[in-house]
Assembly symmetry: C2
Homo-oligomer: 464 residues x 2
Amino acid sequence: MAAGPADQDVGAYPGHARVTPTISEVQRVPFPHPPTALRVALLGCGVVGSQVAHLLLEQEKDLTARVGARLELVGVAVRSIDEPRGVELDDALLTEDAAELVTRADIVVEVIGGLEPARTLQLSAIEHGASVVTANKALLATHGPEIYAAADAAGVDLYFEAAVAGAIPLVRPVRESLAGDRILRILGIVNGTTNYILDAMTTQDLDFDEALRTAQELGYAEADPTADVEGHDAAAKAAILASLAFHTRVTLADVSVEGIRGIDADDVRWAAQTGHVVKLLAIAERVESNGREAISVRVHPALVPAGHPLASVHGAFNAVFVETAAAGPLMFYGQGAGGRPTASAILGDVVSAARHRVHGGKAPSESFYAQLPLLPAAAIRTHYQLRMDVADRPGVLAQVAGAFAERGISIETVRQAPEPVDGVAELLVATHAADEGALAGTLEAISSLSGVLAVTSVLRIEAS
Amino acid sequence: MAAGPADQDVGAYPGHARVTPTISEVQRVPFPHPPTALRVALLGCGVVGSQVAHLLLEQEKDLTARVGARLELVGVAVRSIDEPRGVELDDALLTEDAAELVTRADIVVEVIGGLEPARTLQLSAIEHGASVVTANKALLATHGPEIYAAADAAGVDLYFEAAVAGAIPLVRPVRESLAGDRILRILGIVNGTTNYILDAMTTQDLDFDEALRTAQELGYAEADPTADVEGHDAAAKAAILASLAFHTRVTLADVSVEGIRGIDADDVRWAAQTGHVVKLLAIAERVESNGREAISVRVHPALVPAGHPLASVHGAFNAVFVETAAAGPLMFYGQGAGGRPTASAILGDVVSAARHRVHGGKAPSESFYAQLPLLPAAAIRTHYQLRMDVADRPGVLAQVAGAFAERGISIETVRQAPEPVDGVAELLVATHAADEGALAGTLEAISSLSGVLAVTSVLRIEAS
């Protein structure tokens, strides 16, 4: 791998980060003298950032061989220089002035998280000609299109492998390996906390609160677990994946979300009896609606058949199942969180961005050329399983079946729990594919039937 | 995505494919006028090639959007123009002169397979300045280093995602996503035929011959199944993966190989009883040997714990489990063969190579900078399970245990089949980690014990 003359070091390459070339300029005279070193700035030095710094230093030799130039950590922006941190760093590297740091780097790694100041810092880094590598799913799910466009206009790279499913190589395969294929559907277990909770409920027979407490004790859930349990974290990842898979602008606000707080021990037990497990799925799919192509992006708990590869994803692991037109089904499995796994994904992106500085080229840009319409929630079609308490007397099943038939929903199976208690029988109805809207109407009708005491659970069946 | 002026078409860009620039020239003036079209030549139009042609034509609009230039199929080399083929092509595209075709393309897709003429054609394409995309595992496992070096010297891309595990994005993640990490071990189910056979033996209780016959009837095994059943196909993939993962020159000749012909119904039954399944694994691992780092690359049947993600890979599917220092365990799952899946992987590579022609940049080059020594077969350390027929009398177990102890091999468990038949008991011994060499010595000693009638099976235990 040819490297430039030794004097073309960072110091001798000062103008590089200050120009904001247009794409055509980049193509014309991109790298007159390949640099022998690239300046990496790190924004944030918490659980992930400290591991990024650690790997950058530990793997220095290998990274140089893979990039063709040395990666030099030129600064680490932290909230307070005096705070303790998980990696030993030269004091001279630490700064509280992130805004200044991004102006003197070739590659900026942003692991602060949240919307601001992350957004302003990323945009400033891009303006100053740096490539950006980030793990910030909330930011990309909210302001992704603005940042993609800024990077594209400036001719710099924006990489974000770590923003979806942590360590699992997923963004690169979706953007690059499948670039000649057509993604039909993505079903992802993309939140480790909720998978840990649901898996513990399934395999250890815990109820929701016990499983959540265990997850918190083991560090898989935060003290305030809202973002995970309510599905918001998964929804951000769904928005990012859908944008990439369907070349369509999808933001967090476009994703319909339902968390797992409503899942109880009975749901999990009944799931097992019907050959399913309950998983929180992030779903992005291409559908036909009135003869037009559209997409549906949503997060909700779902019954997954026990034989499906997603069903055997245990503990806090993540896995993303991708169905494509030509490759068929694919699955990507690994750790979705944690300092070192996330840092691994970030370093892979840093190497790609760095190689472009040395050898020319650029990351795929997100152009949203397809811009498919989003299916309204009421038009989503899937299979459902309803559980209800009914009066144990003849004629009730006929009432219930009639309510489904009236709205054109076809029933696939009906099961009744073996022994009625105090005259109350438990009834389980699984439907063929039906609209969310038609189901809502049916639910209302069923709830008002004289023989139905309560609808205790409604779950979607996916991946079948 | 800015495309150049309309007159810079293939026709107006004739010199492009004829220069053989050095890397530094590529860096200096790579793409003065980004092309609006790129010439794609296809070598081979069988099961895979016809699907490549089909996808190129079917996805033309999407591909143009992703590449930033049109991909124009300029020729398809076939053995005989008169043969029927699986895709409708303009007759003018067909040629029997592959050697001529490679001189007039920007990207050459080689799906002829085998060593020659594929090797000569790829080298000629590279010499003429074309990037090469191939699915040819046999060629890469044998002459990979020669072809990698030629591509590197010519400054063109060599992509081969389809050569390992078919449709599964694996080569790109290993080369790029994990470029900032350290791969410790790869355990792959990379041959669909043998996985189908072993899975059918496990789940349908078939013996080897029945399972092979079924695989042949369903098209999962060829009439002559040798290359699959004896492990040669998996070994080629192991060699390619090991080269990438460890930056070390590994060829087919370096891989120790054992196929699945020796696996019988008893092996599969006993595996189930001890909580395992039998899988044919391609293994590439980084090991310490006498304080030095070395690698081991091998293919053999192995007992995999039933709870391991690889254990639930059924039918003809492939899956590759990758253990890394920072990301931890990862698994990639999908179809390992078939025309359309393989074509999907090839198209992804074509898009990457094409984007480099438009936007600059190049594929990672395989530099083998680490060049780790290969561990000799006798020094491989793993766990073993031995099954033997012994005389049903006191003292035999002590004899057997003594033979292990003498060679320093520690026994983990001993099981005896419930009922001796005609004075013969079946004994199952699982060991702690031991050298292949020490085990061979132990086997010899055990076989000569008076109480041991026969050692009926020796299997390695992996992924534990």
